[in-house]
């Protein structure tokens, strides 16, 4: 049983307008995604603005109420959980936020921030909690005298560490990291990335890392899921994704990421996508990527392809949602002319 099993998750935000505030449409932020996260692994969720990755993270924690789908954590149905069950679940699933400046209450001292969850869940005595807070601060590379200070006295990297200490307080099993380093200076990012990796080893944590920086995601994740306009378009082991991207969006995304190596850069072939990302309030019919896709054909306008494995060299863990995914046999890339059957499952239903 996977630690986290998400099936067909949907989150549609209603758009209200007019004096009577009636619903005129929806923002299809997350539109039917499924994935599993195994214990001890790091799953990366990557995509650009509007792809729905942040919404997914928050839905898993039920910070946002999903519109549809199931979320199973260690076999427990998160969406059906009662208030007290949810309290218990919260001890196992935690989150680290992107903005080190907005994610800490400016009016609370660090010790209160880090120790709050202990208080909420009535764990230990006052003295024990204090000790635990000191322990946590040291674990993340801060020191005991930082406990009495306020957030504004710290730099961005230090604040992020405070946020990490807070997330660890209850000994969670799963931590959702929502853009954990994008708001930090480049030289600080590596510190925090290494810290997260060390903590994972030390405390046997499972991570779901949500980010737009593909280099960071690939580095820290075991598997990566690429999202576009509310759907997962490809999911595979992170090493495989770079070398053998099957989905045209993944290819374009990878080619757009700058690599800090001039020789490599000069040799690269860049795939520039036309236009902007469509609005999630008005997603294209059929495959959500087809208007910008360099190899879109008639069938792509009919229905969104299902996420499936092309088999062969790709292996079962590599799934793609495309009618014309690239294939790699013996390292040679080909794009077939015939649509891929595995993707047709949805079209037929």
């Amino acid at each position: 049983m996977s630690l986290l099993e998400v099936k067909d998750l949907k989150k549609h935000f209603p758009i209200k307008s007019g004096i009577l505030k009636h619903t005129t449409g929806y923002v299809y932020a997350v539109d039917g995604i499924s994935f599993n996260v195994e214990k001890g692994e790091t799953l990366g969720l990557v995509g650009e603005s509007g792809c729905g990755k942040s919404t997914t993270g928050r839905s898993v924690l039920r910070l946002i109420a999903p519109t549809a789908g199931t979320i199973m954590f260690e076999g427990v149905d998160v969406m059906a959980a009662s208030r007290s069950d949810m309290q218990t679940l919260r001890r196992h699933m935690q989150i680290i936020f992107q903005d080190p400046y907005a994610s800490l209450n400016p009016r609370m001292r660090v010790r209160s921030i880090v120790g709050e969850s202990l208080k909420i869940h009535n764990i230990g005595t006052e003295a024990e909690r204090k000790k635990r807070v000191f322990e946590l601060l040291e674990t993340v590379g801060l020191s005991v005298e930082h406990a009495e200070r306020y957030p504004h006295e710290f730099s961005g990297g230090q604040r992020q560490r405070i946020g990490i200490a807070r997330a660890l307080a209850l000994n969670p099993k799963l931590i959702i990291c929502d853009e954990p380093v994008s708001a930090l200076d480049v030289s600080i990012r590596a510190q925090v990335i290494n810290l997260l990796e060390d903590l994972q080893d030390e405390f046997d944590l499972t991570y779901m890392v949500i980010a737009h920086d593909l280099s960071v995601v690939k580095h820290i994740s075991d598997r990566v899921a690429v999202m576009y306009l509310g759907k997962i378009v490809e999911i595979s082991d992170s090493a495989v994704l770079y070398d053998f991207p099957q989905h045209p969006y993944t290819e374009a995304l990878l080619s757009a990421v700058p690599i800090p190596d001039p020789t490599t850069e000069r040799a690269r072939r860049r795939i520039i996508l036309e236009g902007d990302v469509p609005s999630p309030a008005n997603p294209p019919k059929g495959c959500v990527f087809h208007p910008r896709c360099p190899r879109a054909q008639e069938i792509c306008t009919t229905a969104m392809p299902t996420l499936a494995s092309t088999g062969g060299d790709a292996g079962k863990r590599h799934e793609v949602a495309c009618y014309f995914p690239a294939r790699f046999t013996g390292g040679v890339r080909t794009v077939p002319n015939q649509p891929f059957d595995g993707a047709l499952a949805a079209a037929e239903n």
């Binding site: 650009e48 603005s49 730099s155 990297g157 230090q158 200076d185 480049v186 030289s187 600080i188 990012r189 590596a190 510190q191 990335i193 290494n194 990796e197 737009h212 920086d213 593909l214 280099s215 960071v216 690939k218 580095h219 820290i220 770079y242 374009a252 995304l253 990878l254 080619s255 757009a256 990421v257 700058p258 690599i259 800090p260 190596d261 001039p262 020789t263 490599t264 850069e265 860049r270 520039i272 996508l273 236009g275 902007d276 990302v277």
Partner: protein, 341 residues
């Protein structure tokens, strides 16, 4: 033999406040030739943005002041120009693109008007001609339906489109030098690729030189011809792109290169971060500003600013560590071995 457009020598910009003197930029020097792209790399507190603003004489005065240095645009010293003369230079000879396209465009003025304004300020064109040119420029930077869109307001454009509008405005008077301050930081990576493409195209078409200010070494590797690495208001290393990436000599540069996760790494290697925090510009001690975070720091580093050492063709570094010792230390760094020549 390319024409030398810009020569900056010993630029120092300080802010004089009651809380103390903030030495935002100290003794920065570089040159820029036609069609060249200079990448200025640094993090918060490096002084890179203030350096660019100093070039444009856009530093708020008070409390800021360019206290030293010469800024030669061709044969004119920008520091010696009068205000009206400087206004002529801005937009016409040197243009700037700012970081956040959301806030650098006036939300209540039509896009066409903003571009036309830039044109009529510097060129002898009628309003009608200027608007027509504005529409042309929008088309040239890749905005579809340019004739229609020239009449729209900024909020009707997406982030990437707005940045294209900024580029259109910047190139409207065919400037010799284009300064881009973190032009793609606020954008998605596929849009970033589009914008960089547009910038390179414009650079090619107008024969301009570009100063790209960024913290993203990947973008620098993509388009820069030479790189200036800044830390704590000073230049720590300066040289051609290949020299900086494959023959870096400053510990900060090593730190930056070593702390970046690379998309194309074959085997996962642990990142080597730089310890400590970015500098506080008021409490900058004498000596090398990087001393507090340098793993190889020694006595001299805290006392005096190191002398410039030439370590390769057009490649200078400011560091106290002796040359040979530096090469040895660098050879021992894990993430380097494959990449260093």
């Amino acid at each position: 033999m390319s024409e030398r457009l810009l020569t900056v020598d010993g630029l120092s910009t300080h802010f004089f406040t009651h809380a103390g003197v903030v030495k935002a930029v100290n003794g920065v020097s570089f040159t820029l030739d036609r069609k060249e792209t200079l990448g200025i790399v640094g993090e918060s507190g490096s002084g890179k943005t203030v350096a660019a603003l100093s070039l444009m004489r856009l530093v708020p005065d008070p409390p800021g002041k360019v206290v030293e240095g010469s800024l030669m645009l061709g044969d004119r010293d920008l520091r010696k120009l009068s205000d009206p003369e400087m206004r002529q230079v801005r937009g016409n000879d040197i243009a700037m693109i700012f970081q956040d396209p959301m806030t650098s465009l006036n939300p209540v003025v039509k896009v066409g008007k903003q571009i036309a304004e830039a044109i009529t300020l510097h060129q002898d064109k009628s309003k009608g001609e200027a608007w027509k040119m504005a529409a042309d420029l929008l088309a040239r930077v890749g905005i579809p339906d340019a004739d229609k869109r020239v009449n729209q307001y900024p909020f009707e454009f997406s982030g990437g489109m707005r940045q294209r509008v900024m580029i259109a405005m910047a190139i409207s008077c065919n400037p010799d030098v284009l300064i881009a301050d973190e032009p793609t930081t606020a954008l998605d990576v596929t849009i970033q690729a589009q914008i960089i493409d547009v910038m390179q195209e414009m650079q090619e078409r107008y024969n301009s030189a570009v100063i790209l200010i960024t913290h993203d070494l990947g973008v620098v590797a993509e388009i820069a011809d030479k790189v200036m690495v800044m830390y704590g208001g000073r230049t720590v290393e300066y040289g051609g792109i290949d020299e900086i990436f494959y023959n870096p000599h400053h510990p900060y540069t090593w730190g930056l290169l070593g702390s970046l996760p690379r998309l194309d790494e074959v085997e996962k290697t642990r990142l080597t971060p730089i310890k400590g925090q970015p500098p506080d510009l008021i409490t900058l001690a004498a000596g090398c500003p990087f001393a507090a975070r340098c793993t190889y720091v020694r006595e001299e580093c805290r006392d005096n600013w190191p002398a410039l050492e030439i370590v390769g063709p057009a490649h200078g570094v400011d560091c106290w560590i002796p040359h040979d010792e530096r090469l040895e230390l660098r050879a021992g760094l894990p993430r380097f071995r494959e990449h260093v020549a």
